[in-house]
């Protein structure tokens, strides 16, 4: 096995092995467990660094293995995969740190971190999947690995959330499976290829192709929470904050959105999809989701629930970017894949901090929290501003690219949708910011878990991750032209894969 | 010729009548008696079909031993003989769809008999052709112990397995003692030696005429049952432990010879010279162990002292 074959496998193994070890470790072995966790996360980042260097230099990384005749497991670490992989791996490190602090005294931590590692493994597999079969395998693995995390607390609400999640995702998985097999029937292969695999084939019924597209998008759309397949996401917010971070930023919804990208670009091919007339309905579905999520977020009193609906809306920016025909729109979508992750994880980290430190769960309990927890609140504000698309934040970059793309594709309504969404975002985030900073301190906090403690407002492990991601939110905009920025990378993907650098 | 056919037709009708009575007669004990009658009639049928080996086995095993087991089981059911729901015995047959399916099956089977193709393979000729190298001169024994000896090996295992199953089920140890008179022991005293003699005759005869290990074992088992009924058994009946050893030894002997013959090129591949001797050896072993096995179907329970025979020698 050559080095170039081994590297993608090592990326997967770097979270799989720690996961197995953590399962076996007894509950009380905290130090050892933390060590394995961090070792895995750091190793993974290092391996991804090697991959990044290689891919930029034009190296090919891939691995193939026959599961059965005509069933091939294919990994390939192309630029698109690396975009997702690096996002997930970096956020995994931060989330692990956060979770160590967050769950310091909670039970069942072995189980939690074990499944957490499995989730990340599944995400790596999804990102590096070289064909639909491999994608599906890890997609279902992700479902299995997230379920124990969602029901982790074991409360009736958690159970309900978990059940709803399973019902949606398993059903979506079934649709995806049928779509994949059907497509495989018609084309003989489902390998992700630049420009798609369908344009070259002829003699295939266009109606069948459209049906398959519907099945595939419905399958991945469940995880991407496209309306009306979004019902599980608000239910799942009962999970602990690190899990929410995982669901909303690191793995699950991202896997769905990433699937949309792969299917549209590398299975159907953007031009072929356009010629089939599939892109417009996709864009419309995304637009409806964007508006619906924002509108529903307005009326949510629970902070995490509001954030959940915000996610529904924001993830569909990515889908919208895919649905907009043209490279600029795609760049907007891809870069939002990263930006939304960074911003949303900031918000969930902060929401977790409020809940953990002061017992705040609802928006109307947040009065004056900015003065009690200034660092957290600052990070929260940056994240929220980013969501609104305020200048100097990552959100602004994605939105401007999306709008450019929409203009180029002559879809002015998309611009209106984006603007309306920004307004709605303001409408549900600005009141929170107002409460945080301008309302007076309440007499007592709902449930103050960590009393005021010198300089630190809460455990440092809870504080560091949101701070880092908040800084990243700003940096992603400020240094958007730097060689290492997500935007540069997204443009590079366009360059490598489509030979048309925007 | 017509006399023979008329006799056979009468036999067929009687056979069907006794079978129907077995299922339809209201009293259970009567049903079992009818079944024994059926078995005896069947013995005649086998003779008509020139299958004396089967006739012997049917009389000894099918009608004799099975009948004994059935009657014995009936005595265990301390229930009014006539089932309260007797009306349902026949009513059951009126369950229309099932009845229809059965009638269709019968019709199809009978129709199919009228248009059978001629067999493409002439197996009797093949048996006759190889009989000389089988080690025995009676074709049925040759098939049973040599050509298809592997079936017989597994069949012996089935018998041993059934015994194991019965032990696993466990049976109530106590049984109402039949108030038998002194004549039965007298009968047993005179009959049992004769039966043993007959058994050995059957075993020895099996090589060249009807008879063989199974028939011999059945006769021996019947002798054991008779001994038990005459209540002479307490002095000679071995413990379950010994029963198991003897029964197991027979199968082990068979398997052992079969495996040893592997050295000569195949499972149960008798060397032409010693085939007759080896078959006689196997049959002798089987006669004893099968007899104990068959008798144990009936006897084991009474030899136990615990609540369930199956758990009997747990305290050994």
């Amino acid at each position: 096995m050559s080095y170039n074959e081994l590297l993608p496998l090592l990326v997967i193994a770097s979270s799989l092995l720690p996961g197995f070890i953590i399962f076996i470790l007894p509950e009380r072995q905290i130090v050892l467990r933390t060590m394995f966790n961090l070792l895995g996360a750091v190793t993974k980042l290092w391996l991804i660094g090697l991959l990044l260097v290689g891919v930029t230099a034009g190296e090919q990384y891939g691995f193939r293995y026959f599961l059965a005749p005509n069933m091939e497991l294919v990994f390939k670490a192309d630029a698109l995969a690396l975009l997702f992989v690096s996002l997930s791996a970096s956020l995994w490190l931060l989330t692990t740190l956060y979770a160590i602090g967050y769950l310091e005294h909670a039970p069942h931590r072995s189980r939690f971190f074990g499944f957490f590692s499995l989730c990340v493994t599944a995400t790596m597999g999804i990102a590096m999947a070289g064909n639909l079969l491999t994608f599906f395998i890890f997609y279902e693995l992700l479902t299995l690995a997230t379920f124990p995390l969602i029901v982790h607390r074991g409360t009736p609400q958690a159970m309900r959330g978990g059940t709803v999640y399973l019902a949606y995702t398993l059903f979506g998985g079934a649709l995806l499976l049928i779509g994949i097999v059907w497509l495989n029937q018609m084309t003989g292969q489902t390998e992700f290829t630049q420009g798609g695999i369908l344009a070259a084939t002829d003699g295939i019924s266009r109606t069948h192709l459209k049906l398959v597209f519907l099945l595939l998008i419905a399958g991945v759309g469940v995880k991407a929470a496209i309306v009306p397949l979004h019902g599980w996401l608000p239910q799942a917010m009962v999970a602990p904050a690190p899990v929410s971070a995982l669901l909303h930023a690191v793995a699950v919804v991202k896997a769905g959105a990433f699937g949309v990208v792969r299917i549209v670009y590398e299975i159907y091919g953007i031009e072929f999809a356009q010629s089939l007339g599939l892109l417009l309905p996709l864009a419309v579905a995304a637009a409806v989701t964007i508006l619906w999520g924002s509108l529903r977020a307005l009326s949510q009193g629970d902070l995490k629930r509001r954030l959940a609906f915000s996610t529904i809306s924001q993830v569909s920016y990515i889908v919208l970017g895919v649905g907009i025909f043209g490279t600029a729109g795609t760049v907007g979508g891809l870069v939002h894949l990263v930006h939304q992750g960074i911003m949303k994880i900031t918000l969930f980290f902060c929401a977790g901090n409020y809940a953990e430190t002061l017992g705040i769960h609802r928006v109307d309990e947040m009065d004056g929290a900015g003065r009690r927890m200034p660092v957290t609140s600052l990070a929260f504000s940056i994240g929220a501003l980013g969501m609104m698309g305020a200048p100097l934040t990552a959100g602004a970059v994605s939105k401007s690219w999306l709008k450019t793309g929409a203009l180029a594709a002559q879809m002015p309504w998309a611009i209106w949708v984006l603007s309306a969404s920004s307004l709605l975002n303001m409408a549900y985030f600005l009141p929170i910011l107002y409460r945080l900073w301008l309302k007076p301190l309440p007499a007592a906090w709902p449930h103050e878990e960590i009393p005021v403690n010198g300089v630190r407002e809460t455990h440092w492990l809870l504080l560091l991750p949101p701070l880092v991601t908040a800084v990243a939110t700003v940096a992603a905009s400020t240094f958007s032209d730097a060689w290492i920025s997500p935007l540069t990378f997204a443009r590079m993907i366009m360059g490598i894969e489509y030979h048309t650098p925007p | 010729m017509t006399t023979a056919l008329a006799f056979e037709a009468l036999l067929a009708l009687l056979l069907l009548w006794s079978a129907w009575q077995t299922l339809a007669t209201p009293q259970m004990d009567r049903a079992v008696i009818m079944f024994i009658v059926f078995g005896l009639l069947l013995t005649l049928v086998w003779s008509r079909l020139q299958a004396p080996d089967i006739a012997l086995a049917e009389a000894a095993l099918g009608a004799g031993l099975t009948g004994t087991l059935l009657l014995d089981a009936l005595t265990a059911f301390r229930q009014p003989n006539r089932s309260a729901k007797h009306g349902r015995v026949l009513a059951a047959f009126r369950r229309f769809p099932a009845l229809l399916a059965l009638l269709l099956l019968a019709a199809a089977l009978l129709t199919s008999l009228t248009r059978l193709p001629l067999p493409a393979v002439d197996l009797p000729a093949a048996v006759a052709g190889q009989l000389g190298s089988s080690g025995v001169s009676h074709p049925v024994t040759a098939v049973l112990l040599n050509f298809r000896g592997y079936d017989t090996l597994l069949e012996v295992a089935v018998l041993l397995l059934a015994l194991t199953g019965i032990l696993a089920v466990g049976l109530p140890a106590e049984r109402p003692l039949l108030s038998l008179n002194q004549l039965v022991p007298t009968l047993a005293r005179s009959a049992v030696p004769l039966m043993v003699l007959a058994a050995f005759y059957l075993l020895w005869a099996g090589a060249h005429r009807p008879g063989g290990a199974f028939q011999a074992a059945a006769v021996l088992a019947a002798a054991a049952v008779l001994l038990n009924l005459s209540q002479l058994q307490s002095r000679w009946l071995p413990t379950q432990h010994w029963i198991r050893l003897v029964v197991g030894a027979g199968l082990l002997l068979f398997v052992g010879i079969a495996a040893a013959l592997l050295a000569g090129g195949g499972l149960l591949r008798f060397p032409p010279g010693q085939a007759g001797l080896l078959i006689l050896l196997i049959e002798s072993g089987l006669t004893v162990s099968l007899a104990v096995n068959l008798a144990a179907f009936y006897l084991l329970r009474t030899s136990s002292s615990g609540q369930w025979a199956g758990q009997e020698d747990s305290h050994e």
Binding site: M159 | L123, R148, Y150, L154, G165, L267
Partner: protein, 479 residues
């Protein structure tokens, strides 16, 4: 001479016979060490046989040195070797489990299991219809004996019902043998296959009908499944595992052999019939498993459903797909997963002292290895990746769509979703929080019981990643 003596094929039959008989002589509850070492040797024999068969496609052995039609031919090809490997690979860990589970009892597990395995191995190697009948009876009686091993009244009733069904099933089979012998004068499968053409006389049709019906009854395919749930759900856990993982597969194997061998010429237009029954089995079994209150009953109904998948391949024969491989993969995956699940369920029942799903599952969190075993088995049963069950179901959908049998694909997917409902019904309870304060003391269970179940479940998963050898082994088998 040594070369003849070491024929693994023959020893696969003789070994269990010998140790079963010895265990029988030793008495109740004894013979475990004999059995375990015998099973180890059997596994070795099965592997040796696989190595021998792989390049040659078939290995035969003339019993008694007589050619067909006079003698009985033992045949090992890819199909039988796969089933033999599965049988030995499942029975060894199950026996280890049983050794721990049944330790104190006065039972006849060892001899009964030995005879069962002799019957199963004999069946997979047999090339002769009447010999198959004898092995079927051996299997049936041994299985019935095993069902009553627990000794409870419910098990006796279940065993009685099982016995009657089994006897009627083998009766149907024997009737078919009688008709075929009457028509062709031989019971050799190989000769019959060449003699029966596509124009079968009525008697041959009838023979096929009664044999298939009898075998379906023994395989417990819907609507002949009535005897299975009480028997499999009521028996002690290791025995349920043997019955569900291995015994029902044996009669299915015979069905497959006949369908593709002697009857191939004329039954293929009727292939939709078993497939239809299989579909109903998947739906009905799934629904009943969801409704079950007792854990092992749920697992037993899951077997009813999973058996349905096996017959779904029948319409796919001769369509150029890997129908045979799919069926065997499903049989293997189900065998491993179901054995693992029954063993895990048995551990949970023993540990919690309750048979009800609600009573058990809250305990499950305290036995993580067993819970994982249950979950991983469930993954394969649901057909989720990466598992043997997934591979089989994916290929089944693929093959079905290739010939336009969309309904098969729909049934397979629906069956997977039903399975996920009943599997997660158990799994989710394991996560119930401390709100449910039923701190009942856990009965101690041995590590062997936990880890054997785990190993079986893991192998069901690993099968999904390492199935290529299986496909290669089956390449030469007609299908």
């Amino acid at each position: 001479m040594i070369e003849h003596l070491s024929t693994p094929l023959v020893w696969l039959i003789l070994l269990p016979l010998v140790w079963a008989t010895l265990a029988f002589c030793l008495g109740p509850g004894r013979g475990a060490l004999l059995g375990l070492s015998g099973l180890g040797l059997q596994l070795l024999c099965a592997i040796l046989l696989a190595v021998e068969v792989a390049p040659k496609q078939t290995v035969t052995h003339l019993v008694g040195g007589w050619q067909e039609p006079l003698g009985i031919l033992l045949v090992a090809d890819g199909l039988s070797v796969t089933m033999l490997l599965l049988t030995q690979a499942v029975s060894l860990p199950v026996a280890l489990y049983a050794y721990s589970y049944l330790k104190q009892g006065q039972h006849w597990f060892w001899p009964l299991t030995g005879f069962l395995l002799a019957g199963i191995n004999g069946l997979y190697l047999s090339g002769d219809l009447f010999n198959l009948y004898v092995t079927l009876e051996l299997i049936g009686l041994a299985a019935v004996g095993l069902v009553v091993t627990g000794g409870a009244a419910g098990q006796v009733t279940a065993a009685m019902r099982y016995l009657l069904a089994s006897l009627v099933g083998s009766g149907g089979f024997l009737l078919g043998v009688a008709l075929l012998y009457g028509c062709f004068g031989t019971v050799s499968i190989r000769l019959l296959t060449s003699l029966i053409g596509s124009q079968a006389p009525l008697a041959v049709w009838l023979a096929a009908a009664v044999m298939v019906a009898g075998l379906l009854l023994k395989t417990a395919l819907f609507p002949f499944h009535f005897w299975l749930p009480p028997a499999h759900g009521g028996a002690p856990a290791p025995i349920s595992a043997l019955l569900s993982a291995l015994v029902v597969k044996a009669s299915f194997y015979v069905l497959l052999r006949l369908w593709l061998g002697p009857f191939a010429g004329f039954v293929s237009p009727l292939a939709w019939l078993p497939a239809l029954l299989g579909s109903l089995a998947i739906l009905w079994g799934g629904c009943q498993a969801i409704r079950a209150e007792r854990l092992k009953m749920m697992v037993a109904y899951s077997t009813v459903a999973q058996l349905g998948y096996l017959v779904l391949i029948f319409p796919l024969f001769g369509t150029g797909s890997h129908a045979m491989q799919i069926g065997l993969l499903q049989a293997t995956a189900h065998g491993l997963a179901k054995a693992g699940m029954f063993l895990a369920a048995g551990t949970l029942v023993k540990a919690s002292g309750s048979e009800l799903i609600d009573g058990i599952a809250t305990m499950a969190g305290r036995l993580p290895v067993t819970l994982f075993a249950f979950g991983l088995s469930g993954v394969s049963l649901m057909g989720l990746p990466p598992s043997g069950g997934f591979l089989a179901k994916y290929m089944l959908i693929d093959a079905a769509l290739a010939v336009g049998h969309i309904w098969i694909a729909v049934i397979v997917v629906t069956g997977g979703l039903l399975a996920s409902i009943y599997v997660f019904r158990v799994l989710r309870l394991a996560f119930l929080g401390p709100g449910d304060e039923r701190q009942v003391a856990l009965q101690p269970v041995s590590a062997v019981m936990e880890w054997t179940a785990f190993m079986l479940a893991v192998s069901a998963i690993v099968l999904g990643l390492a199935a290529m050898p299986l496909f290669r082994l089956l390449e030469g088998v007609a299908g």
